[in-house]
Amino acid sequence: MTETTTELMTEAATATVTAARRTVDTLAIVLVIVAIWELLHRIAGETALPAPIETVFYLAHMMASARFAENAAATAEAFGFALILAYGIGLATGIWMGAHRLSGAVGEPILVAIYSLPKITLYPVVLLIFGLGISGKVAFGAMHGILPVALLTMGAIRAIPPVYLRAARTLQLSPWQTIATVLLPAALPEVFTGLRIGFTVTLLGVLLGEMFASKAGLGSMIMNAMSLAQSQEMVAVAIVLFAFAAIANAILLWIEHRLHRRV
C-alpha cells in the first residue's frame, strides 16, 4: 500500500514539497512526544521520570561507560546466537512444511496456535532446562523468532507457481539444488518479511529473558536501574534499544521493499 502511494507521489509535480512537508509533520510529532514527556516529568517528579534534556546528557555519558559496553556486548552476544538459531530452525521448518504438503497441512495450525500463546509463561521451563546463563536467554529468544520465520517461509514456498517446480524436475535438479536455485530465490521477498519479524521478536525475547532473570545485558540493566530508582538510566537504556530496533527495522524494511520490487 505504501509502495503505490509512494509511486503516485513521485509522479506528482509537488513530490519534493510533499516529502518536505511530511518530514516537518513527523518532526512535529516527535516534538509533541518530547513535550508530553516533559509534562509527565513535571507531574511525576524527578525520581520517577527524568527530564528529556537531562536524559540526553545522561545517555551520552552512559554510552561511553564500560558498564554499558559490557551489558550491550552481553545482549548482543545472546541476541546473535538466538537469531542464528531462530533463522536456522525457522527456515528449515518452513521449507520442509512448505515443500511437503501433508506436513504443512498437519503442522500449520499447531504452529499458529503456539505462535499466539504468551511464551513468557514458558520461561521458567526454559530456565529449568538451560539454566540461568546465556543459554537460557538464547533459547528463549530463539523460541520467539522460530515461529514467524517458519510460518512466513512456509507461506512463501506454498505460493510458488507449480510450474517452477516442474521446470526444476525437467532440469533434473537435486532436492538441494531445487531449494537453492528455485525455491529460495522465488520465495525470497516473503521469506525476508519473516526474517524481519523474526529479528524483532527474537530481540524482544532476549530482552524479556534478561529482565526476568539475568545478571548481564541491557534488559537486566533496566531492571537494576528500576530497583535502584535510577530513572535516568532506565529511560536512557530504553531509548538506546528503541533506536537500535527502529534503525535495524528501517534497514530491513528497505531491503524488503527492494526485493518485492525486483520480482
Binding site: M1, T2, R22, D25, T26, A28, I29, L40, A44, T47, A48, L49, L102, A105, V106, G107, P109, I110, A113, S116, L117, P118, K119, I120, T121, L122, Y123, P124, V125, L127, L128, I129, T200, L203, L204, L207, L208, M211, F212, G219, I222, M223, A225, M226, A229, S231, M234, V235, V237, A238, L241, F242, A245, A246, A248, N249, A250, L253
Partner: protein, 252 residues
C-alpha cells in the same frame, strides 16, 4: 474428522505421550519437567482448592479491561486519525516502527512513575494492544469502496447512517483482524508484566512458584494459562471463519 485432522491429533497425542514417557522413565529429570498427567492433576487440585481464584479473577479482569480499552480507544483514535490525512501521514512512520521496537521495556519506567499497582500493567497492556487496533481501523477505512460513499449520497444518507450502514460493515473484516491482534497482544503483555514484576496475578504466581522450586504448582499454572489462551484463540479463529463464510455468501 478429516484425514489431516486425524494425523494432527495423532501428532499432538504422540508428542504429549513421548513427554509423559520421557518423564516417567527418568529420561527427563523430575526437577526440570513433570509428566503432563501430573500437570493436569496438579491443576485439578489447585482449581478445586480455590486458592488461585482471586488471582484468576484479577488477571483475567485486567486482561479484559486492557482489551476493551484498546479496542474502543484504538477504534476511536483510528477514526479520528483517518479523518485528518495530514496527521495520519505524519504518524505513518511511527506505526510502521511501533511493533519493531520492544515497547515492553518501558514497563519498569511505568512502575517507577505509578508505583507497584495494576496501573502500570493496564498501561503497558493498552500501549501494546491499542496500536494494532488503530492500524487495523485505518486499513479498514482505507478499503471502504468509493462507490459505497456514492451510494450513500444517492440515497441522501446522513454521516451517521453512512458510517453505520455502509462504512462499518465494509471495514468489518479489518476491524476484526485488529480485535484479534489486540486480544493476543493484550494477553501477552499483561502476563509478561505480571511475570516480571507485579503485586499479584497469575503471572506473579508462576514466577513465585518457580522461585520456590514448586514445580507442581508452576506447571499447573502454566498449563492453566496456556489452556485459557488456546480457548480464546480458537474462539476468535472460529468467529473469523464464520465471518469469512458469511462474506462469501455461504459459498465455501
Amino acid at each position: 474428522m478429516t484425514r489431516v485432522g486425524l494425523i494432527r491429533l495423532a501428532v499432538i497425542v504422540a508428542l504429549i505421550g513421548a513427554l509423559e514417557l520421557a518423564c516417567r522413565t527418568g529420561l527427563i529429570d523430575h526437577r526440570v519437567v513433570i509428566p503432563p498427567s501430573e500437570m493436569a492433576s496438579a491443576l485439578a487440585t489447585l482449581l478445586a482448592s480455590g486458592s488461585i481464584n482471586a488471582d484468576i479473577e484479577r488477571t483475567l479482569g485486567v486482561i479484559t479491561l486492557v482489551i476493551a480499552l484498546s479496542i474502543v480507544l484504538g477504534f476511536a483514535a483510528g477514526v479520528l486519525i483517518h479523518a485528518l490525512p495530514r496527521v495520519r501521514e505524519a504518524l505513518d512512520p511511527f506505526f510502521a516502527t511501533y511493533y519493531a521496537v520492544p515497547i515492553f521495556i518501558f514497563y519498569p519506567v511505568l512502575i517507577a512513575i505509578f508505583g507497584l499497582s495494576p496501573m502500570p500493567i493496564v498501561l503497558i497492556g493498552v500501549a501494546t494492544a491499542i496500536v494494532a487496533m488503530i492500524i487495523a481501523t485505518l486499513n479498514g477505512l482505507d478499503r471502504v469502496p468509493r462507490v459505497l460513499i456514492k451510494v450513500a449520497r444517492v440515497h441522501r444518507l446522513g454521516r451517521l447512517a453512512t458510517a453505520l450502514t455502509l462504512q462499518l460493515p465494509a471495514a468489518a473484516p479489518y476491524l476484526f483482524t485488529g480485535i484479534k491482534l489486540s486480544v493476543s497482544y493484550g494477553f501477552i503483555a499483561v502476563i509478561a508484566a505480571e511475570f516480571i514484576l507485579s503485586p499479584a496475578g497469575l503471572g506473579r504466581d508462576i514466577s513465585d512458584a518457580y522461585a520456590d522450586f514448586d514445580n507442581r504448582r508452576m506447571y499447573a499454572l502454566i498449563l492453566f494459562l496456556l489452556i485459557i489462551a488456546t480457548i480464546v484463540n480458537a474462539g476468535l479463529h472460529a468467529l473469523d471463519l464464520r465471518f469469512a463464510e458469511r462474506r462469501s455468501g455461504g459459498r465455501p
